[in-house]
């Protein structure tokens, strides 16, 4: 609804006929006019530029000198002052009001017109006056840029009727060149308003206070600030402050100097100038020219309402600046005089006094109530508490108060940043996805290196002097070289992209990551209520609080910095290409997601809506993140620090017009408009475009995109959900402020993204700069209250209430973490399935419960209420409360019923939907599902009864999946000694082998009985297969063979109890020899208990026979006994033994030993033959070696 006077061609007032040419440029004029008028009074916050896109009439015409600065079309362009020219201008403030650019003049003339009209003096000549004046302008200053003075310059002094030449050609008031030491590669994009993040020191110190320096530090421009001593700058600051003070107190300071707006853009950025301690008390009775102000407010509000302003939030910011303007005492005093003196020069000053400004602001706010009332709660609080609003418009105050009270839009901008790894998924990550083993193994290493880098960054990036490139640069490049060598880029790009989403997708999305959650101790100490307070407190410390204006340049906050720096340090073409592919794919995938899946029926409305919103938020934030990085990569090669010259630009445009865009955003944008999905698509396209290089906006393709986007701003779509629209307007407004090409046309169209998907949290998350509005108000409160003149964060310390641990909070938190953790390592499809099932079953369940239990309860409640109402005339709310309490117990049944319902239905659905292979885990999945369901029902029950219900813990499902045992004897209790223990005992602990092999201590012996026991335990151990592994068994076999060899050669100093072996006869000695018993035991263990083959042939090794050879009194009997035993137990065939013995004989033994060996051989062979004949088991006693020797 624009002012009909000015916009409706059919009814043009005759007085305005001469202005009709200007109609298209009306909005720019109006905005500029307001900025001009208020430029003196505004000292709070950064200056808000007036800026508007070009109007359609002149869309395609662009002239030669159009530069980047220029193409940031703004009303400010009419004011050509540059910061460099500042000092000069200050000197010639007086009387220079009609100076310089035409736009400015026009704007002022407009004011003039208004004044005259109001005064009844207006005539058709008023515009002519303006023109005349233009012609009369004397050269301003020799030192001003010549372009300002060139009357022949059609851009600046265009002839009437050729408005296109100059309206198109706005140049910014401010075009600061940023100096960025820490990010030389990032595009130094400045927007008008924001105090640039990395401002050149010289520019910065035109600011008024030293606090500025601190804010700069806060903003992240740390390195440059830290590295230098600030002494010199402090001096400059002092001087500058003096100047300001002087200027403010002298009448000259109030004249309208074109340069003025630039200066305070720094001065105001964070703090109040020193003199602004004296906050003028705005007084409604002191307002002058009310009528004009009202007219202006209406006009201005209409422009905002019709989306004719490029950025509504910028305008709101401006209005709030007016609302909170401090004014100075001099301004107050000199008011009337000035009005007189100014009148002749350039029209009346409507905004000379704080009273007028506030009056105007409150008027506009009143018009914009619909938007304002949808802002976040903190903002509403500040507005509702604003005393100026209260005194100027009690009705608005009242409405704001009510809006505040009913608002639920609490917003948190805390960015959690914690490194969480991307899980390994066999479908994409296992060996079959790689061309070679080498590639697979190298990628294994790369993954580990990547996380090592990430952890290093996480631990150190905030430390002073830590430099990404210096510390990580070479490691990253080495990694890139390895990737190239094995063509693993696509794998790594996918990992990189997934990790990016994992870490940076934003403060919402339901995922409580581990890093997001405070320490257990803190949680125990504080409990949940205090935890949220703690979070808010933390936010106030962590989230930058300084006022940077509502249009900050694109940035990579938090963890995004790592990924950006990684890309820059890697400098790998291959990697970038693969990453772009990966990002494009993911963007397309997410952009195509169907977010609104079903029609709402009344029953399930809130729940579905909530889920939809949550899902939408996650998808939208991921898309924005991916698009930002895609934009970064796509335009990275074209990035230049300096604006290219016109010639360079033309050739670059000609060249690049031939190339195809990496991602066809134009098509996607059109598609989204067609499908009414622009609420999803536009925000990410804006992110993508915010990173364009200097040239890109001039390419045909991107021109079209910008055009289309501009339509979004200008189109009024009644069907679109209000907050959806607000989000689109906010992001587009920001984009146009940061990055705006000219040459756009305004056809009209409409779209309808009618489903309300955006909430304040998302709005503020996507557009953190909206928080600037609140900061401005907060700084006003602080500034007017305290004497320190700065923006203070008021934090009231409170004592911790109770330090008692609150288990339930911990448990709930853990539960959520567990859920997250569970899904982390599962394929994403499982999560989708479970979520889907949970959602559907939950929804059905709620319907079911509502239809049965709740309906009944409500009926009963009704009856109860009716009775009670009859009884007494009590407070109705209280009554309701009572009734609810009464029914509470029964209401709790809903939970139980719901859980039963879900427990029954959920697993069924999940089982059908999941792939077969998952079945093993299904019962667990069910458990998780039921947890989901319980959470869902809880929500519903809560909504119905407005009460929290405790959920009793779920019983664990009894899963009987016992592992199959290998060959353990039935009834085995698995309590046999561990194999390791036995080996240990054989080897070291009980020193069997050690003592046997030597060296042994004096008198060191081995208890024979103990050794028997050991062999018994060995048998047990071998029988129980549970803890046995092949190596243990082999080692045991080897050790026992070794032991046998030592026993046979009588090397084991056995300690025999209750026996005196010397007395027994040879025969008996052998027969009762304890060693024989041990050998028998061993033989049976080898035969019966070992699963693995026992290397008994080792007994015939040179080394082991050597034990025998070393012994003076050889025990051949034992050896023979052993040989017989081996055959008997079928551990070796006699032929094998024969061949072993024969090969032994070939070794170089001492002659006597060799003789004995040969003899033994003969005995064994002959005996064996006899044994074969008799097929009798042999006995040691039957034929001793002695007898054999005698026979031979």
């Amino acid at each position: 609804m624009l002012c009909p006077l000015l916009l409706q061609e059919n009814h043009i007032h005759e007085k305005l006929v001469s202005l009709s040419l200007l109609q298209k440029d009306f909005v720019p004029f109006l905005l500029n006019f307001l900025r001009e008028q208020t430029s003196q009074i505004l000292t709070n916050g950064p200056s808000t530029p007036a800026k508007t896109p070009n109007s359609k009439a002149h869309g395609s015409q662009r002239t030669g000198s159009e530069r980047r600065a220029g193409h940031k079309a703004s009303l400010g362009s009419f004011l050509t002052a540059t910061p460099e020219a500042l000092p000069v201008r200050r000197g010639r403030r007086k009387g220079s009001s009609s100076v310089s650019a035409s736009g400015r003049l026009v704007a002022r003339d407009l004011g003039h017109c208004l004044t005259e009209e109001e005064d009844g003096k207006s005539d058709g000549a008023s515009w002519g006056v303006g023109r005349r004046k233009r012609g009369e302008v004397p050269p301003v200053s020799a030192r001003s840029p010549p372009s300002q003075l060139n009357l022949n310059n059609l851009e600046e002094f265009p002839p009437m009727g050729a408005a296109s030449f100059w309206t198109n050609k706005p140049s910014r008031r401010i075009n600061p060149t940023p100096v960025s030491a820490e990010r030389p590669l990032s595009k130094p994009k400045m927007c008008f308003t924001s105090t640039p993040v990395s401002q050149s020191p010289a520019a910065r110190f035109s600011s008024g206070t030293s606090l500025e320096a601190f804010t700069a530090v806060q903003e992240g421009n740390l390195t440059s600030m830290r590295s230098n001593s600030l002494q010199e700058e402090r001096e400059m600051l002092k001087k500058e402050r003096c100047k300001l003070q002087h200027q403010a107190s002298s009448p000259a300071g109030i004249s309208l100097d074109p340069g003025t707006p630039t200066k305070p853009s720094y001065a105001r950025s964070a703090s109040l100038p020193a003199e602004s301690h004296l906050v003028t008390c705005a007084d409604a009775t002191k307002v002058s020219c009310k009528k004009q102000l009202e007219c202006l407010a209406q006009l201005y509000s209409s422009c905002i309402a019709e989306n004719l302003v490029p950025n509504i939030f910028l305008e709101l910011f401006f209005v709030l600046q007016l609302l909170t303007s401090k004014g100075t005492s001099t301004a107050e005093d000199g008011d009337s005089d000035l009005e007189v003196s100014e009148r002749n020069a350039s029209g009346r000053q409507h905004f000379r006094s704080v009273h007028n400004c506030v009056y105007f602001a409150v008027q506009v706010l009143d018009y914009q109530y619909e938007i304002i009332s949808r802002l976040e709660k903190g903002m509403l609080k500040l507005l509702a508490e604003n005393e100026r609003i209260a005194s100027f418009s009690p009705s608005l105050h009242e409405r704001l108060r009510r809006a505040y009270e009913s608002s639920t839009a609490k917003v948190s901008l805390l960015l959690p940043c914690s490194v969480q790894s991307v899980s390994f998924q066999p479908e994409t990550d296992n060996r079959s996805n790689f061309p070679s083993d080498r590639a697979f193994h190298i990628f294994k290493k790369q993954r580990d290196i990547f996380y090592e880098l990430l952890r290093e960054w996480e631990d150190n990036n905030e430390k002073t002097g830590w430099d990404f490139e210096r510390v990580l640069g070479n490691k990253i490049r080495a990694m890139m070289a390895h990737l190239s060598a094995t063509c693993n880029h696509s794998h790594f790009a996918r990992l990189f992209q997934k990790q990016l989403i994992q870490m940076c997708k934003g403060p919402v999305g339901g995922g409580t990551s581990a890093g997001d959650t405070p320490d257990q101790d803190v949680l125990n100490m504080l409990g949940s209520d205090n935890l949220s307070r703690l979070k808010r407190l933390q936010e106030r410390f962590v989230v930058p609080q300084n006022i940077r204006g509502p249009c900050p340049p694109p940035s990579f906050p938090g963890c995004q910095q790592f990924f950006r720096d990684f890309i820059l340090s890697a400098g790998s073409y291959q990697f970038n290409q693969h990453l772009m592919d990966s990002l494009c794919l993911k963007i397309l995938e997410l952009n195509a997601l169907t977010l609104v899946e079903h029609e709402h029926s009344d029953g399930e409305a809130d729940m579905d809506e909530q889920d939809e919103k949550k899902r939408f938020t996650v998808v939208l934030l991921s898309l924005r993140l991916l698009a930002k990085f895609l934009g970064f990569l796509v335009f990275l090669p074209y990035r230049t620090v300096e604006q290219p010259t016109r010639d360079l630009q033309d050739s670059a445009v000609a060249l690049r017009n031939q190339t195809l865009p990496v991602l066809d955003i134009l098509k996607l944008l059109r598609q989204s408009l067609q499908d009414h999905r622009s609420i999803l698509t536009i925000p990410w396209i804006v992110e993508y475009l915010s990173l364009v290089d200097h040239i890109a906006p001039f390419l045909d393709y991107y021109k079209k995109v910008f055009c289309l986007l501009l339509l979004m701003v200008l189109s009024e779509d009644k069907e679109m959900s209000f907050l959806n629209k607000l989000l689109i307007l906010a992001v587009l407004g920001w984009l146009f402020q940061v990055e705006f090409p000219s040459g756009l046309t305004f056809p009209s169209f409409s779209h309808q993204d009618s489903v309300p998907l955006v909430d304040q949290q998302l709005l503020y998350t996507c557009c953190p700069y909206l928080g600037e509005l609140r900061k401005l108000l907060a700084s006003f409160v602080a500034g007017s209250g305290a004497k320190n003149g700065g923006f203070i964060r008021k934090i009231t310390p409170t004592a911790a209430e109770s330090l008692a641990p609150k288990a339930s909070v911990t448990q709930r938190k853990l539960q959520v973490e567990l859920e997250q953790a569970f899904f982390h390592n599962q394929p994403p499809s499982l999560r989708r399935t479970v979520e889907f099932v949970a959602e559907r079953v939950g929804s059905n369940c709620v319907k079911h419960i509502k239809a049965t239990l709740v309906a009944e309860l409500v009926q009963r409640a009704e009856v109860m209420l009716q009775d009670k109402v009859k009884e007494e005339d009590a407070n109705h709310d209280k009554l309701l409360e009572e009734v609810c309490t009464h029914l509470y117990e029964e209401g709790a049944q809903a939970l139980i019923k719901g859980r039963e319902f879900c427990k029954k239905k959920g697993p069924e659905a999940v089982r059908v939907l999941l792939p077969e292979e998952t079945s093993a885990a299904v019962s667990e999945v069910n458990r998780i599902c039921s947890l989901f369901f319980v959470a869902l029902i809880k929500r519903e029950v809560k909504a119905t009864f407005n009460r929290m219900l405790k959920v009793p813990g779920l019983p664990l499902p009894n899963e009987d999946a016992l592992e199959l045992r290998r060959d353990c004897p039935t009834g085995c209790q698995h309590c046999a000694p561990f194999p390791s223990q036995i080996i240990n005992e054989i080897k070291v602990h009980s020193d069997v082998l050690c003592v046997a092999v030597g060296p042994r201590d004096e008198g060191e012996v081995i208890d024979c009985i103990w050794l028997e026991c050991l062999l018994g335990r060995l048998s047990q151990t071998l029988r129980c297969r549970k803890f046995m592994c092949p190596t243990s068994e082999q080692q045991l076999a080897k050790c026992t063979v070794e032991l046998a060899s030592l026993l046979v050669s009588d090397r084991v100093p056995l300690h025999l109890r209750n026996e005196s072996p010397e007395k027994t006869s040879e025969r008996l000695r052998v027969k009762n020899n304890p060693t024989c018993g041990l050998l028998k035991l061993l033989l049976s263990v080898w035969k019966e208990d070992f699963g693995a083959p026992v290397p008994v042939q080792l007994m015939f090794s040179k080394k082991n026979i050597g034990y025998l050879a070393e012994v003076k009194q050889r025990e051949w009997d034992l050896f023979l006994f052993m040989l017989r035993g081996l055959v008997e137990h079928e551990l070796m065939r006699s032929s094998e033994i024969e061949s072993c013995l024969r090969s032994l004989e070939e070794l170089p033994w001492p002659s006597d030993f060799l003789k004995e060996l040969e003899m033994l051989s003969r005995v064994f062979i002959s005996e064996h033959r006899i044994a074969e004949l008799r097929t009798n088991p042999c006995e040691l006693t039957r034929q001793s070696l002695g007898t054999v020797t005698a026979q031979s």
Binding site: R431, D448, K1102
Partner: protein, 270 residues
């Protein structure tokens, strides 16, 4: 049973400079009777390994090798039955098994006129019967049997303990009805780095979420935590989420231990 950091330090200090013999171990047991044998052996082994790591190089210089070999030859010439190598090792403060390896290597080098392969040496150390020289075979065997920190027998025991604890861990998981994927299954699926068990449904232990468990079956001192963190745990974290849970014997390890070794070092309990 917990072992305090102070207790651990005391043991480590006692072990400051001991020989890896069964006699030393016996003394250790006498000194700290309240600690289990396996805990003491594990600490003993780790401490001794640290000591060896520090001095390892000086025993491998060409001169040292030559000296040892000559001393061995002289020794067995005098008395082949005497524990020449073992005594030599103890005398120069080196692990007997490693001393055996040095001398065996040198012997083979002389015999074959070429550097013997590692595989051959390992095989001979495992089964000294393969050593052509009977005397050396005996000497080597004596060394490996008497070394309680190095050598094929010790390796095998460690391996066996590791295996046994994995089995125990699996038992516990089954007992608690936890759904898990074991290492072999993970390998079959093509995972590149595999802990012993991944919990399909993570559990919370003392407020920490456990995704995977790696059984280490050894005492978790500071340096082994460090080493495992670098070699394995970070890799697991990089793949299977953010909680470490290595078990040192049945000990759960958390990320906190990255910065500071837990004030209470838990012992092996078997």
């Amino acid at each position: 049973m917990k072992l305090t950091k102070a207790q651990y330090d005391e043991i480590a200090q006692f072990l400051g400079h001991v020989q890896p013999t069964r006699q030393s171990l016996r003394k250790l047991k006498e000194k700290f009777p309240s600690q289990s044998q396996s805990t003491l052996l594990s600490i003993f082994s780790q401490e001794y390994q640290k000591q060896i790591k520090r001095t390892h190089t000086k025993h491998h210089t060409a001169e040292a090798v030559e000296t040892y070999y000559q001393r061995y030859l002289n020794g067995v010439m005098k008395n082949a039955a005497a524990p020449v190598l073992l005594e030599l090792a103890n005398e120069v403060d080196f692990a007997p098994s490693l001393m055996a390896r040095i001398v065996l290597e040198r012997y083979l080098q002389e015999k074959e006129q070429a550097m013997p392969s590692k595989a051959l040496i390992n095989s001979m150390l495992r089964d000294p019967s393969q050593i052509p020289d009977g005397v050396l075979a005996n000497q080597v065997y004596q060394c490996t049997v008497n070394d309680c920190c190095y050598g094929p027998l010790v390796d095998c025991i460690k391996h066996a303990i590791g295996h046994e604890h994995e089995v125990l861990l699996r038992e516990m998981l089954l007992e608690k009805n936890l759904s898990f994927i074991a290492e072999d299954q993970l390998r079959a699926k093509g995972y590149d780095k595999t802990p012993d068990f991944i919990l399909e449904v993570p559990v919370a232990v003392e407020g920490h979420i456990i995704h995977w468990i790696e059984s280490k079956a050894s005492f978790g001192d500071e340096s082994s935590h460090q080493a495992y963190l670098q070699d394995q745990f970070w890799s697991y974290w990089n793949r299977y989420l953010n909680t470490e849970s290595g078990t040192f014997m049945p000990i759960f390890m958390r990320r906190a231990s990255k910065q500071h070794i837990a004030n209470e070092v838990k012992p092996a309990s078997m």
